[in-house]
């Protein structure tokens, strides 16, 4: 019993809705009331002419009896079974199960949805834990400032013979430290405030810049037109609260202006139509570097391409995320990313299809290339940056193309069990 199973339930619902008695409908379609009763309770298969007759008697389209909200229920049950490593043969009986035990099916689906929600929460909290170094620095800042205030305040309160000079000095110190404490407390709350949503969580300069760019959808039409004032843009940005964030944002915007002067988005769009999504060919067309063309592709509105830039130390300098491709905020990312492979092959453009573990095992086409940055000087090692364009593969396209390699976000929050690149155990494998 497959999809027909729930058809019985739908027939029963429709019959009751139109106010027809079971015996009346049975008479109209020429079967016994007891047989219709079995059909309505999903105990008998139904299809073909009989189903058409029932649809006609109830005055509904056939599709109204063969599809419906139950499809979502069955999909959820299949997902739950798949997550429990249930064999395919058993997964195929999800609809049968839903038809025979609708109450249990609803309960299982609800339980699965709750589990998915909890997994999401765990993922968010895991991400928070993955930020340990920044969190530790933030806590240290708060406690150190509190220590300075406490110590200074005690001196002021207990030492009655304090000279006016020292008293003034300590008062000034407390004033300065109390301001620092207010700022660092806000930063700390920002780190821990999961409830207010990930987009609202800022705390580091890099996160401030990401919030700024995300709010602009990584697109600045005025800059593209060549008429915008970068300083004014930065000054007006409420997201950029720290000096460091404004500094980083200025660098990003300046490079955006320089790139747009070489390759306009309009010209690029036309070239992509002609040449396809081929970064080396596009770079040759515009006589720019492949990383430059990848930055421009990532800046194209509505395309949904991600971009990651790293230096040779592995620090992620720029992150434009794509749904399903998890980019860690702190600490090293997965060493298997083509981004890092490209650092070992300067001048070569790498292409690799990757699969990121997750609830949907999303797949992406990644292009990566390295370029030198900064000034070139005699006997001075060049500074290198690797750039990776991340192109989501639609579900329909997953079956074709090259075989993907499995990559993760970062070891600490990666569930892949056997991985040669693993640097540390994943917290997701121990009870999560």
């Amino acid at each position: 019993m497959m999809r027909e199973a729930l058809t019985g339930t739908r027939i029963r619902d429709r019959r009751i809705m139109v106010g027809t008695k079971q015996s009346e409908l049975a008479r109209q379609i020429g079967i016994s009331a007891s047989y219709l009763n079995l059909i309505e309770h999903n105990r008998r298969r139904i299809g073909g002419k009989l189903l058409l007759d029932i649809a006609g008697a109830l005055g509904v389209e056939l599709s109204a009896l063969t599809t419906g909200a139950e499809a979502a229920l069955v999909a959820t049950l299949r997902e739950a079974g798949s997550g429990a490593a249930m064999p395919e043969a058993d997964l195929d009986r999800a609809e049968d199960f839903a038809g025979r035990f609708p109450g249990w099916a609803d309960a299982l689906a609800l339980s699965h949805r709750k589990r998915a929600a909890l997994e999401h929460t765990v993922k968010v909290l895991s991400d928070r834990l993955a930020h340990d170094p920044e969190l530790a620095a933030s806590v240290h800042e708060v406690l150190s400032t509190a220590a300075a205030i406490r110590s200074t305040a005690s001196i002021l309160a207990e030492d009655k013979d304090l000279s006016p000079e020292w008293r003034d000095r300590f008062h000034a110190n407390i004033d300065a430290d109390s301001r620092r404490l207010a700022d660092s407390s806000k930063t700390l709350v920002g780190f821990l405030d999961v409830e207010s949503g990930e987009a609202a969580v800022t705390g580091t300069p890099q996160e401030e810049v990401e919030a700024f760019l995300t709010d602009h959808d990584y697109s600045f039409a005025a800059l593209e037109a060549g008429g915008a004032d970068i300083a004014a843009l930065i000054n007006d940005a409420l997201q950029l609260t720290s000096v460091a964030a404004r500094h980083i944002a200025r660098g990003v915007l300046e490079r955006m202006v320089a790139d747009s002067a070489r390759v306009s988005l309009g010209d690029l769009s036309g070239a992509v139509q002609e040449l396809g999504l081929d970064p080396p060919a596009l770079a040759a067309r515009f006589r720019v570097s492949v990383p430059c063309i990848m930055r421009r592709l990532a800046a194209m509105p509505g395309q949904g391409y991600g971009l990651v830039v790293s230096d040779r130390a592995g620090s992620l300098l720029f992150r434009k995320g794509v749904e399903g491709f998890v980019i860690p905020r702190y600490g090293p990312a997965c060493p298997l990313w083509p981004l890092f492979q490209a650092l070992g092959s300067p001048g070569q453009v790498l292409y690799q299809r990757v699969r990121m573990p997750g609830r949907q095992d999303a797949m992406f086409d990644c292009f990566a290339a390295t370029e030198t940055t900064g000034h070139v000087a005699l006997n001075t090692p060049p500074l290198m940056q690797s750039t990776m364009l991340v192109v989501p593969i639609p579900t329909a396209g997953k079956g074709s193309g090259p075989d993907p390699i499995d990559v993760g976000p970062a070891c600490r929050i990666c569930p892949v069990a056997d991985c040669a690149g693993r640097r540390e155990p994943s917290i997701l494998s121990d009870g999560f």
Binding site: A136, A137, V139, H140, V142, L143, S144, T145, A146, A147, A148, I149, R150, S151, T152, S154, I155, E158, D159, W166, R169, F170, N173, A176, D177
Partner: protein
């Protein structure tokens, strides 16, 4: 035992408060703020007591302490470690590295002065 203390700490206002407190107690107080060069400074100034912050720029207090304890000249130097990291694991690591007293921030002035007095007595 003399009364020369070296305070290795990077928070300017903590330095000022502790310097004031210990000076009032009769200590000669030297300060140093950089973790990377702290060991050289300690070796050069040879204090009677070291007050050492845990998280310092350049090199952690734990690494500084480990390096010092490997030197026979500084194996008995009383070291009071100040830290914002107060978990049992941090305390164990500090004790393993050879800390004499471990104090978490924010501390009270009385705690600092008492700890310094205790360490001086133990060293004598």
């Amino acid at each position: 035992m003399g009364k020369h203390v070296l305070l290795v700490e990077d928070e300017a206002n903590i330095i000022e408060a502790i310097r004031f407190l210990l000076s009032r107690e009769g200590w000669e107080v030297d300060t140093h703020s950089d973790g990377a060069t702290a060991v050289e400074t300690i070796r050069a100034r040879r204090p009677d007591l070291l007050v050492l912050d845990h998280m310092l720029p350049g090199k952690s207090g734990l690494d500084i302490l480990t390096e010092l304890r490997a030197d026979p000249d500084f194996q008995k130097l009383p070291v009071l470690m100040l830290t914002a990291r107060g978990q049992a694991r941090d305390r164990e690591q500090a004790e393993k590295a050879g800390v004499s007293r471990f104090m978490t921030k924010p501390f009270s002035n009385t705690e600092v002065i008492t700890a310094v007095r205790d360490l001086v007595q133990l060293a004598q």
